[in-house]
């Protein structure tokens, strides 16, 4: 991976980060920090690993095969519900990216218009729940919408015209693709359609290590923050880095996507540090999942699934 570009001082400690998906704009800060040697500077030799499927990162994290996993807030809650001792130590993206997307040709302008239509999802239970919530929020009975499990072929499914809309695509990725393809997509982020907001992408580590050696994690977050600044300063350069890490990524898309994502990476309250996780939001979302039967145990008891103590200027 890109990590090998910088000659590592012997002191540098190997630190494997498993991404949530193949390298894309969401990971720009990480790759920027690697490329600029920010991690080196704090003695970390960070190596990103691309997973085969979306639950893998947390499993391998809990199994001790990687030092950090990039995952989704819902997945973290599920993992803890299953008893995995993992904790989120920072948000890479502060808002839901998951959106309801429909091609322009479908002539759909609101969730309500999905009534009687076919909607494609990735077959992930909590996304199904999101669909139902948004429909109910729009006053449509979920029974009147036909859900189709299209796996990860969300865009092709839409292009094939076999589904009116999909839930599961990201407004900063699939939506951008479609726009670049002049498909004039309608994009409704789930949190704007009745689903409580949550942090789409979070950095997850093992609980015991969060307790024990916070040093590395704190250092990691600092370096990552610098990486984020670098991306903000030079998005084009960041896009190049992504393409370098993932040759099958398309630079134009990555750049577009990076620029769209930058605002979402910032905490709503500017006084909060980069990576901030809003406790109330987490609680609300956890309860939403619980109320939809996605979680077995009541999330309100026990240790919080996240901690901000490793963010710059936090903790201690």
């Amino acid at each position: 991976g890109s990590a090998q570009n910088v000659v590592s001082p012997p002191s540098a400690k190997r630190f494997t980060v498993m991404l949530d998906w193949f390298p894309n704009a969401d990971h720009a800060p990480l790759y920027a920090a690697i490329a600029h040697g920010y991690f080196r500077a704090v003695g970390l030799d960070v190596e990103p690993v691309v997973p085969a499927e979306t639950a893998e990162p947390l499993k391998l994290l809990a199994a001790g095969k990687v030092d950090m996993a990039i995952s989704y807030e819902p997945e973290v809650l599920l993992a803890r519900d299953e008893g995995l001792k993992v904790v989120s130590i920072g948000a890479l993206v502060q808002r839901p990216l998951t959106s309801i997307i429909a091609l322009g040709e479908q002539r759909i302008s609101s969730v309500a218009q999905l009534a009687g239509k076919t909607v494609g999802t990735a077959g992930i239970p909590y996304q199904t729940a999101m669909l139902h919530t948004t429909l109910q929020h729009a006053g449509v009975s979920p029974a009147r919408v036909k859900e189709v499990n299209v796996g990860f072929n969300l865009v092709p499914a839409m292009l094939s015209g076999k589904v009116a809309a999909t839930l599961g695509g990201y407004w900063n990725y699939e939506a951008v693709q479609l726009r670049l393809m002049h498909k004039h997509p309608l994009v409704i982020p789930v949190n704007e359609a009745g689903v409580p907001t949550y942090d789409e992408l979070v950095l997850v580590v093992r609980e015991n290590e969060a307790r024990a050696d916070g040093q590395d994690l704190r250092a990691f977050m600092q370096a990552l923050t610098r990486g984020e600044h670098a991306v903000r300063a030079a998005p084009a350069a960041a896009a190049k880095l992504i393409v370098k890490a993932n040759p099958s990524a398309e630079e134009r898309l990555q750049l577009e996507s990076i620029e769209q994502t930058l605002p979402a990476a910032q905490p709503a309250d500017a006084s909060d540090p980069y990576g901030w996780q809003e406790p109330t939001a987490w609680a609300t979302f956890a309860n939403w999942m619980y109320s939809h039967g996605l979680l077995v145990h009541n999330p309100n008891g026990g240790l919080p699934p996240f901690t901000n103590e490793f963010l710059p200027g936090q903790g201690i």
């Binding site: 499993k59 809990a62 076919t118 189709v148």
Partner: protein
């Protein structure tokens, strides 16, 4: 030489066991071995410290199977239907193609390489296209399974047809047999055993195919097959035991089909099955 005698005797036993009881006895060793392996797995899962969600212990799988029996069963029926229909499709197309290839050498040279290459086409690449053409029904899935299964059948059958004693066609020629009759009387029966091994391979590949088909083409049904159930339980949430439960069912299904085909062989090519046991 003891080894020799045992072996010869063993082959007899193998050929001789036609009674049902005998067949059950024949499966005993497999069951014992399976039991032993399950035991080892249980111990490993319980005491090696590997987590449930990486490798659930057999008992966890069993309970998952028990508690989700309903949905597993429904998904199983879906998958079984797909596999069997897909396999039938593959058998029809595969053997037809093999025969054509055998009878018309030009065809062999024209079509065979493409048939080979077709195997290299990843289903996800064309999955969407299939849906675009045929929608969310079962048909695209059958096409996927057939696409993956037909090749073993073609190769084994073509090779089997080519392996006939070269003197036989000579004889049939002097009996004024047409090419087709030479094929029907000499080559086809001679190739049947090979074709059947091809079918057995195709069956095993077909189960893989069903998994690929289900996971790479969209489906609208609530129960859309064991493959989908497995991938959903794997790729989100931490339902690994359920995924393993579904896998166990697939496993049993494959074994059952395989031996069903073995029986079919005894019926279709008795001379062969018997020859197997004819030694010593």
């Amino acid at each position: 030489m003891n080894a020799a005698r045992d072996a010869f005797a063993g082959r007899d036993a193998f050929a001789g066991r036609d009674a049902f009881a005998g067949r059950v006895r024949a499966f005993l060793p497999a069951m014992l071995l399976a039991g032993a392996l399950a035991g080892a797995w249980e111990l490993y899962a319980d005491f090696s410290g590997v987590q449930q969600d990486l490798l659930p212990a057999p008992h966890a799988v069993a309970s998952a199977l028990w508690s989700n029996g309903g949905s597993v069963w429904r998904n199983f029926t879906v998958t079984a239907e797909q596999v069997l229909l897909g396999l039938a499709l593959a058998l029809a197309c595969g053997s037809a193609l093999a025969i054509a290839i055998h009878l018309f050498p030009l065809l062999r040279r024209a079509v065979y390489p493409l048939a080979v290459g077709s195997q290299a086409v990843p289903i996800p690449v064309i999955g969407v296209l299939l849906v675009f053409w045929w929608g969310f029904g079962i048909f695209p899935k059958l096409v996927v399974i057939a696409l993956i299964c037909f090749f073993p059948i073609v190769v084994s059958t073509v090779d089997g047809l080519a392996a006939v004693d070269p003197e036989q066609p000579k004889l049939l020629r002097t009996l004024d047999a047409s090419r087709w009759q030479a094929f029907r009387f000499a080559e086809l029966p001679a190739a049947l055993p090979a074709a059947l091994s091809g079918a057995r391979i195709a069956l095993a590949v077909g189960v893989i195919g069903a998994f690929i088909a289900e996971t790479s083409t969209p489906s609208s049904a609530a129960y859309s097959g064991l493959g989908r159930e497995i991938i959903d339980n794997i790729s989100s949430g931490f339902q690994t035991p359920r995924a393993y439960a579904a896998t166990v069912v697939l496993f049993a299904f494959a074994v059952a089909c395989f031996y069903a085909l073995a029986l079919a062989e005894r019926v279709l090519v008795p001379w062969h099955a018997r020859r197997r046991g004819a030694t010593a």
